[in-house]
C-alpha cells in the first residue's frame, strides 16, 4: 500500500517520490465523533503492529487533559505490555528486513514464531492478540489472570537464548554485512533536522529516548540502557533494534519484581468531560515518538485529535537516504526504516 516512484539511471537511484494514502481511514476525523473511551479502539489500528503503545500514547494525552490519576499497579502493567509490544514490533522489523535481503523466509519464520508467544500473552491479558484496546484513561482495563505471570516468566527466560540464536544467524553473516554495511547512511544532523525519532535516530549516534528524557509511568524506577549506533547505516539500525529487545527484557524483569498489588483502574465517569484546553501526550513507540495532541471543548468527544506518527516523519528522509544507491539497496534501506502504513496514512 505504499508506492515509490523511482527514477533510475541504469541501476542507480536518482530520485524518489513516495506516494501513500492508500490506507487513509480518517482516524483524526472519526475521533471527533467518538467519546474519549471509544477513541481507544480507533488508536489500536494506527500502527497495527504495536497496538499497546498507541493506546498508551492516547491515554496519556487524555489523562493530561482531564487530570486523571493512575494507580501504581496499572502503571506497571502498562510498562510491561509496552515493552512486550516493543519486542514484538522489533521482531517483525528484523524478520522483514531479512526477508527483503532474500533469506527466503527463514529468519522471518523464526521471528514470527517468537512473536506468537508474545501474542499469546496478550491474549491472556485482554482477549485479543493485535487490536488490544487494553488501556483506558485512568488505568488498564483488566488485571492479568493468574496464569499470566508464570507464562511471562517463561518467556523472559527463553527469549535471551532465542535472541542469541537470531544474532548468530544474522549479525556476523558476511553476506548480511556486505549488503547492509555503510548502506543508507543517515547523519545525525540530517536526522535531527528532519525530526526523525526512534531507532533510526539512535542508530546515527544521538542518544535520545523519550523513556529517559520524559519518563512517564514507571520508567524512572527501572534501570535500562539506551543503545546507540555508530554510523547510521542499515546494519546499525538492525543492531540497535536487537539490543533494544534485550533492554526491554531487562525492564520487564524488573517490573515483575516491583509490581505492587492494588487497583488497576481509577474510577472515572463513563463519559469523560475534560475541562476546556489542550494537551500533548507522547510515548516512545517502537518506531519513534508517537504523540497525540488533543483539544477539548468540554464535551464528551475530543474537539480535535492530531496524531504525530513517527513513521510518517521518518519517511521524509527517504529521498536523502536513497539517492545514489542501487536498486537492490533501495529495498533494504526502505525496509530498515520500518514504517507501518497504518501510521503513515492514519
Amino acid at each position: 500500500m505504499f508506492r515509490l516512484r523511482v527514477t533510475f539511471d541504469g541501476e542507480v537511484v536518482l530520485d524518489v517520490e513516495p506516494v501513500f494514502g492508500y490506507l487513509h481511514r480518517g482516524t483524526e476525523k472519526l475521533a471527533e465523533e467518538r467519546t474519549y473511551v471509544q477513541v481507544v479502539t480507533l488508536t489500536d489500528r494506527l500502527d497495527y503492529v504495536s497496538a499497546m503503545t498507541n493506546n498508551l500514547a492516547y491515554v496519556r494525552a487524555v489523562e493530561k487533559l482531564a487530570g486523571i490519576e493512575v494507580p501504581e499497579r496499572a502503571k506497571y502493567l502498562r510498562v510491561i505490555s509496552s515493552e512486550l509490544q516493543r519486542i514484538a514490533s522489533h521482531l517483525i522489523a528484523t524478520g522483514f528486513l531479512l526477508q527483503e535481503l532474500g533469506a527466503f523466509a527463514t529468519p522471518l519464520m523464526y521471528c514470527f514464531r517468537e512473536r506468537e508467544r508474545i501474542l499469546e500473552l496478550f491474549e491472556m491479558l485482554c482477549g485479543a492478540r493485535i487490536t488490544v484496546s487494553y488501556m483506558r484513561p485512568g488505568g488498564v482495563l483488566q488485571d492479568a489472570p493468574e496464569d499470566f505471570w508464570p507464562a511471562l516468566d517463561e518467556l523472559v527466560k527463553a527469549m535471551p537464548q532465542y535472541i542469541e540464536e537470531l544474532e548468530g544467524l544474522i549479525t556476523s553473516n558476511e553476506i548480511v554485512l556486505a549488503r547492509t554495511k555503510d548502506v543508507g547512511v543517515l547523519t545525525a544532523e540530517k536526522a535531527i533536522n528532519a525530526s526523525v525519532t526512534g531507532p533510526m535516530l539512535r542508530a546515527t549516534g544521538v542518544q535520545w529516548d523519550l523513556r529517559k528524557a520524559d519518563p512517564h509511568e514507571v520508567y524512572d524506577r527501572v534501570e535500562f540502557d539506551v543503545p546507540i549506533g555508530a554510523i547510521g547505516d542499515t546494519y546499525d539500525r538492525y543492531l540497535v533494534r536487537v539490543q533494544e529487545m534485550r533492554q526491554s527484557l531487562r525492564i520487564i524483569e524488573q517490573c515483575v519484581k516491583q509490581i505492587p498489588k492494588g487497583d488497576i483502574r481509577s474510577r472515572t465517569a463513563y463519559f469523560i468531560r475534560p475541562p476546556v484546553g489542550d494537551a500533548y501526550g507522547a510515548v516512545e513507540s517502537p518506531k519513534g515518538e508517537l504523540g497525540f495532541y488533543l483539544v477539548s471543548d468540554g464535551g464528551i468527544a475530543p474537539y480535535r485529535c492530531k496524531i504525530r506518527s513517527p513513521s510518517f516523519i521518518n519517511l521524509t528522509v527517504l529521498r536523502d537516504l536513497l539517492a545514489g544507491w542501487k536498486m537492490a539497496d533501495l529495498i533494504i534501506i526502505f525496509g530498515s526504516t520500518d514504517i507501518v502504513l497504518g501510521e503513515v496514512d492514519r
Binding site: 479502539t41 527463514t106 491472556m124 482477549g127 489472570p145 548468530g168 544467524l169
Partner: protein, 223 residues
C-alpha cells in the same frame, strides 16, 4: 576467519531443523493422525485397534485420517459471537449507546414485568451486525446488568452479508458459553472453560444477585 559468520548461520538453521519442539504449526480445522493416536483416543491398545478397524488403521497409516483440531485459546479470548441472558437484560440499551460503530439496534416495548423495579422491557429487536463489528467489547464493558458477554467462537462465516446480523432469536437460543473477558465472576468459577461442556446459568453470570421480591418489599414498600 572469513566465512565463520556464514557457518554459524548454518548451525542455527540445522539446530532448528533437528529439534522437534521447534515445529510451531497448529493445524486447523483438522489434522492428520497416526494409528497410535487413534488408538489412544479410543482407549484401547494399538494392535487391538488395528485388528478391530482395519480400514481406518490402514488409512491412518497412509496419512489420510483426519480429526478435527481446535486452536488453543485462553478463556479470556474475545471471540466473534455474543452470549446474552434475557433474564438479566432490562432493555436499557447501554450497549447500543456505547458501541463506537453504532451497530447495535434495539427496539423495546413495555413488558409489564417487574414494574416495581422499573419495568424490564421486552426486546422486540436486538440486532448486532457482526459484519461491521470490531469485537472491541465496549458493549460488554457497558452492560450494567452483566447480561451481554463476549463469546469464544470465531467460525461465523456466512455466504450473504445480511446473514451476518445476529438477531434476538439467535441470541436467545444459543448455548451459553461466555468468554471470561471483563467478567471476573465467570473467570473465578471452578474449572470453567468456554470450550467445555459446562453452561453458565443466568444467576451465575452476574456480579450480584437480583434482589428478591421480599427484600424489595421490605426495603421500599414497608418503610
Amino acid at each position: 576467519m572469513y566465512g565463520a559468520g556464514m557457518a554459524k548461520g548454518l548451525l542455527v538453521t540445522m539446530k532448528n531443523f533437528v529439534k522437534p519442539d521447534r515445529m510451531f504449526t497448529v493445524q486447523y480445522p483438522d489434522r492428520k493422525v497416526s494409528p497410535t493416536e487413534l488408538a489412544k483416543m479410543s482407549g484401547v491398545g494399538v494392535f487391538t485397534f488395528m485388528r478391530k478397524n482395519p480400514k481406518t488403521a490402514f488409512k491412518a497409516m497412509t496419512g489420510q485420517m483426519t480429526v478435527p483440531a481446535r486452536l488453543k485459546q485462553h478463556p479470556r479470548f474475545r471471540g466473534e459471537e455474543f452470549t446474552w441472558y434475557e433474564q438479566r437484560c432490562t432493555g436499557c440499551a447501554s450497549c447500543a449507546k456505547y458501541c463506537p460503530l453504532g451497530i447495535i439496534r434495539i427496539v423495546t416495548s413495555p413488558s409489564g414485568e417487574q414494574v416495581q423495579e422499573g419495568q424490564k422491557y421486552h426486546l422486540d429487536v436486538f440486532d448486532i451486525d457482526i459484519g461491521r463489528c470490531m469485537f472491541c467489547g465496549l458493549c460488554v464493558e457497558a452492560c450494567p446488568y452483566d447480561a451481554l458477554h463476549m463469546g469464544s467462537g470465531f467460525e461465523e462465516g456466512k455466504y450473504r452479508r445480511k446473514d451476518l446480523v445476529v438477531t434476538v432469536d439467535r441470541l436467545k437460543s444459543q448455548p451459553k458459553h461466555p468468554s471470561t473477558w471483563f467478567r471476573p465472576q465467570i473467570q473465578g468459577k471452578e474449572g470453567y472453560h468456554p470450550h467445555g461442556e459446562k453452561d453458565v446459568t443466568w444467576q451465575e453470570a452476574g456480579r450480584h444477585e437480583q434482589p428478591s421480591r421480599k427484600h424489595q418489599e421490605e426495603k421500599w414498600a414497608k418503610r
